[in-house]
């Protein structure tokens, strides 16, 4: 999607290993979000950021941490991956709070 990229697109990792997913935007939007999408659950918010070094937890934040050291990058880290974190992870950006989001193409993470 234009203006927002996620990397990697696919990753397989072993239980207990740390994993970092990257979201990069070129839109200079203030708000950035990490969601996970699982069958039967829809999209659930993990963490979000409302500015550089300003982050807050979402509804499923346990086992995840985030960092935003510059406007364009929002990193999601799984400190010690578990099989329950196998999911598709989406990053989204928004110019203003409550406005429409632009989503990345997602990262499919498999924890074995």
């Amino acid at each position: 999607d234009a203006g927002i990229t996620q990397s990697p697109r696919h990753k397989v990792t072993e239980t207990g290993t740390p994993v970092t997913l990257r979201c990069h935007q070129t839109e200079n939007h203030r708000y950035m979000y990490w969601y996970r999408q699982d069958p039967g659950h829809g999209l659930r918010l993990i963490h979000y950021s409302y500015g550089v070094k300003d982050t807050d937890k979402g509804e499923v934040s346990d086992g995840y941490s985030v960092s935003r050291s510059k406007t364009e990058d929002f990193l999601l880290t799984l400190e010690s991956a578990t099989s329950s974190q196998t999911s598709v992870y989406f990053c989204a950006i928004s110019e203003e709070a409550g406005k429409g989001y632009t989503f990345g193409s997602g990262t499919r993470l498999t924890v074995v």
Partner: protein, 109 residues
């Protein structure tokens, strides 16, 4: 949780027919948004309706919002095979969007 709940969960229609999808939610909102997701892709924003609006149009899309009933509907007129996708409603409150589980729409050629 103020997660929206879409209804029906799945909908199959013939090309050219209209598709109506419903969303209900539980708490106060600033606005309500609808998104589309094609298989294997990210979500795409379709339309936003503010809490003080009752109806909004965008091309073949018509969205209504009834805050007294805490419900919204998305109407896609003259559907096309390319409209086949999952559709999600999302409620906005306090800087965050909360998504429903989605509706799978299949449009048969």
């Amino acid at each position: 949780s103020q997660q929206g709940e879409e209804d029906p969960q799945a909908l199959s229609i013939q090309e050219g027919e209209n598709a109506t999808m419903n969303c209900s939610y539980k708490t106060s909102i600033n606005n309500l948004q609808w998104y589309r997701q094609n298989s294997g892709r990210g979500l795409v924003h379709l339309i936003l309706i503010r809490s003080n609006e009752r109806e909004k149009h965008s091309g073949r899309l018509r969205v209504t919002l009834d805050t007294s009933k805490k419900s919204s509907s998305l109407l896609i007129t003259a559907s096309r095979a390319a409209d086949t996708a999952s559709y999600f409603c999302a409620t906005a409150f306090n800087s965050k969007l909360t998504f429903g589980k989605g509706i799978t729409l299949s449009v048969r050629p």
